[in-house]
């Protein structure tokens, strides 16, 4: 695989770069910046309200001590890191905060954050845990409340035309991302897992049009690449939020190729487009609630809830699964034994990495990854 000139492929888009970019955008556009966690509240709506959506990410292994004054030490280190960064002023460009009720930790983080460091705008997007007809109706009503609150804050009506335009832009990106993922189905894959994750992370902090440009140029560049090198076993990354390519890089260094994923900044969000024309709210319901495969949503007992994952394993010709769970991430920790047993039955080896959102000690991780990949 050839090296790229695209700096995103060589290094992480640093937090400082992201912050500089969003500050510049904010200044140039005069638009407020609304940070968001998790994917149940459509960012299209934030954009259609005339604001800049900014996906909040943390710094693995970062200092969380500032959070200790407000929340308990036992808890997801990712969420604690987000709060520590907020307390430190790392998000001083934010005008608003949207947190979806995805897991207990972020739901409660919302209240504590707003209690101690309130922002001009905040919204907790409440999400039922089941997919019953009444849960779906609740989600759709929640969309309306979310729309109303955004309009009230920005003073800009979210018209159907504006919403369609945003969905169209996001759909375009979804298509491009699927095109990029398709290049990972070939063997060896044309784009590394760490590169793909870097792209997706970059997309979370820039307007959809800018992301389109980035994706298009990247796609063109990748298509020019030549598959000259052989590659190692094909890996699927499963588990908690992955907002840093460190683990994928370790896997690549250990000789594996991360060609697919099942984490929340990954394929989950891009698998299909929101139908246009169509009922936009039904589209959001399906995209961000029904089809969004976060284990926090109860899809009933039994292993059928993992069918989508088996399909992906088949589509991407996966040799092994590397699970990554951040400490105290209950939804994934609950799913692990069932998934492990299912994969074993299917003949797919799995390695679980339980981590405190630090990817450390890297040497120990590397040893485990090398042993796993060698076994594959």
């Amino acid at each position: 695989m050839e090296d790229s000139d695209n700096h995103l492929f060589k290094e992480n888009p640093t937090i400082a770069e992201n912050n500089r970019r969003i500050r510049r955008l904010k200044k140039e556009s005069g638009k407020p910046v609304i940070g968001y966690l998790c994917c149940f509240a459509p960012p299209e709506m934030i954009s259609a309200a005339g604001a800049l959506p900014f996906r909040l990410t943390g710094i693995p292994g970062g200092d969380n001590s500032e959070a200790d004054a407000y929340i308990e030490p036992y808890g997801c280190a990712y969420a604690r890191n987000i709060l520590a960064r907020a307390v430190r002023g790392d998000y001083d460009f934010l005008d608003g905060l949207v947190i979806s009720h995805s897991c207990d930790m972020v739901q409660r983080l919302y209240g504590i954050w707003n209690y101690y460091h309130p922002l001009p705008y905040s919204y907790l997007f409440n999400v039922p845990h089941q997919l019953t007809p009444w849960a779906q109706r609740f989600y759709k009503r929640e969309l309306i409340f979310f729309k109303d609150s955004l309009e009230k804050f920005t003073g800009q009506e979210i018209t159907e035309t504006a919403l369609r335009k945003e969905i169209d832009s996001y759909n375009h990106n979804r298509t491009l991302i699927r095109d990029l993922y398709a290049l990972r189905r070939v063997n060896p894959p044309l784009i590394k897992g760490s590169e793909m994750l870097n792209l997706l992370l970059a997309g979370g902090v820039m307007p959809a049009e800018d992301f389109s440009f980035l994706l298009e140029t990247t796609l063109a560049e990748i298509r020019r690449r030549h598959n000259e090198q052989t590659t190692g076993p094909r890996i699927l990354g499963w588990g908690s939020i992955m907002d840093d390519p460190a683990l994928y890089r370790l896997i690549e260094k250990a000789g594996g190729s991360v060609v697919a994923d099942d984490t929340c900044i990954g394929m989950r969000l891009w698998e299909k487009n929101i139908p246009l024309p169509g009922d936009l709210y039904n589209g959001f319901l399906e995209q961000y609630f029904i089809d969004f495969q976060c284990p926090r949503t109860d899809r009933g007992p039994g292993i059928k809830r993992f069918d989508y994952l088996l399909e992906r394993i088949d589509q991407y010709d996966i040799d092994g699964v590397v699970g990554y769970i951040i400490s105290f991430c209950d939804p994934h920790k609950f799913d692990y034994p069932d998934l492990r047993d299912l994969l074993k039955k299917e003949g797919i080896p799995m390695l679980l990495i339980d981590d405190n959102y630090s990817f450390e000690p890297a040497e120990a991780l590397m040893t485990r990854l090398e042993a796993f990949i060698e076994m594959l």
Binding site: Y70, I71, I112, Y115, L124, D330, F334, P337, D338
Partner: protein, 444 residues
């Protein structure tokens, strides 16, 4: 840690001591019916016990079963079985205790002999879950039904409004009431299908009336703890919640809570405390260490008493119109949500509970409690395996500090005694008592 460090609780009330006879009678009744192969539901706190009574359904509470396993120091055995099955030590120890139990049950084809209750929890024919309070409760019954008992599951989904919306806004109220009503209707439809019985609303209404009578006595009993010296402490409190799970809706529960109320009232009138010299009045936050309830007696030996507990607390009691019993359950849930919201639900919004228990970190409720219950300090159990309940303890500590009330957070668990460090915790408790003493002498 050795088991010798764990002490069982001594209770102070005659009424709670009588439960030794009352509860076995109930369990025997249930056992006889189990032998007749009647449907058995495993339920989570959050499922209205009145509904179970209305369907005359046999039921078990795995959470309560886990507290019993913890108090008999059997929980570590079950928890370790679950851990070898791949369940993390970080997961709720009520859950891992149950998962270990289930694994042994399925392997042996019957309740493991080490079960604390005769016959343990029987084979479930259905699982009735509730997402109230935390997400492990969603995943728990999903896992049980996936791995051990392939039976129908219904999990209710009582969401509560975030702390910064106005629950009195008719649109918001309707938004949540719709969900609560439809969810309850779904639960009833499920129960009708699984039991083959139609819900008798008249019967449910009668049960609710009895249930609310019992709860009103309970509320009034707890209010008497404002008295100095307090006539009732935590060892009685945490024991006396059990009839709310098993007997609520029955005359026996009304009689029990009335008797308790009368006893506590009499003790109040006689100024009969639970210790000779009541020096410090505390609030307890978090789940108790069920494996070492004697720690409350230990603190009592230094004149420290608990007059309020944040968990399993029924909170204020709501007069609801029971003419439509289903709407009464919905309204009861909603009123509790609004009540908690009014007191500040920034750290724990998920208190929306269609049953009778709750937790609170209502920050402005603290001011009332400190004033009305004459609080000197607070002790908080930071339960490693239950972050849902212990979340907000740091915030509560901050809020109490503003009121000049010292507090201590120590780390342990509710069911897993392996997380109890006796010497360390007692050292911290002693240091805290000194802090409180100094604060009292300093007049705060």
């Amino acid at each position: 840690m050795g088991n010798s460090e764990m002490a069982r609780a001594n209770r102070h009330l005659d009424t709670t001591r009588k439960m030794k006879e009352m509860l076995p009678r109930f369990f025997m009744r249930m056992m006889e019916r189990r032998f007749n192969n009647e449907p058995l539901a495993w339920c989570m706190v959050g499922v209205p016990p009145e509904l179970l009574k209305a369907f005359d359904l046999l039921f078990e509470w795995p959470e309560n079963f886990s507290t019993i396993c913890a108090s008999r120091l059997i929980a570590p055995h079950f928890i370790e079985v679950a851990e070898t099955d791949g369940y993390s030590t970080e997961l709720c120890s009520y859950v891992t205790n149950t998962m270990g139990y289930c694994k042994l049950f399925v392997e042996k084809g019957e309740a493991p002999p080490e079960s604390p209750l005769p016959g343990g929890m029987g084979t479930p024919s259905m699982l009735l879950g509730s997402g109230f309070i935390c997400e492990p409760r969603w995943k728990w019954f999903q896992s049980i039904a996936t791995r051990f008992f392939n039976v129908p599951v219904y999990s209710s989904d009582p969401l509560a409004p975030p702390w910064d919306v106005d629950p009195r806004d008719p649109r918001i109220e309707n938004h949540y009431l719709c969900l609560l009503r439809e969810d309850l209707a779904g639960q009833i439809k499920f129960l009708e299908r699984e039991t083959g019985k139609k819900l008798d609303r008249h019967h449910l209404r009668e049960i609710l009336i009895l249930s609310h009578q019992a709860l009103a006595y309970w509320r009034d009993t707890l209010s008497l703890r404002k008295n100095v010296p307090t006539p009732m402490g935590s060892t009685d409190y945490f024991h006396a919640i059990i009839p709310q799970m098993y007997l609520v809706g029955e005359q026996e529960a009304v009689d029990f809570y009335r008797e308790m109320y009368e006893e506590v009232k009499e003790r109040s009138a006689m100024k009969k405390g639970i210790v000779e010299d009541e020096k410090y009045r505390f609030i307890w936050f978090g789940l108790p260490p069920w494996f070492n309830m004697g720690v409350f007696n230990y603190l009592e030996s230094f004149g420290a008493v608990f007059v309020y507990e944040s968990t399993y607390n029924v909170g204020d009691y709501f007069e609801v119109d029971v003419s439509d019993p289903l709407e009464a359950i919905v309204r009861r849930t909603w009123q509790r949500a609004v009540w908690m919201h009014d007191y500040g639900a920034e750290a724990m919004p998920e208190i929306c509970n269609p049953a009778v228990f709750g937790g609170f970190v209502g920050s402005s409720l603290l001011e009332e409690l400190v004033r009305d219950f004459k609080i000197d300090g607070a002790i908080m159990n930071l339960t490693r395996s239950c972050r849902a309940i212990s979340f907000g303890e740091v915030h509560t500590k901050n809020r109490l500090a503003k009121l000049g009330i010292p507090s201590l957070i120590f780390e342990s668990d509710m069911a897993d005694p392996r997380l109890w460090s006796d010497a360390q915790i007692k050292t911290r408790l002693h240091a805290f008592l000194e802090t409180v003493e100094k604060a009292k002498q300093g007049g705060r």
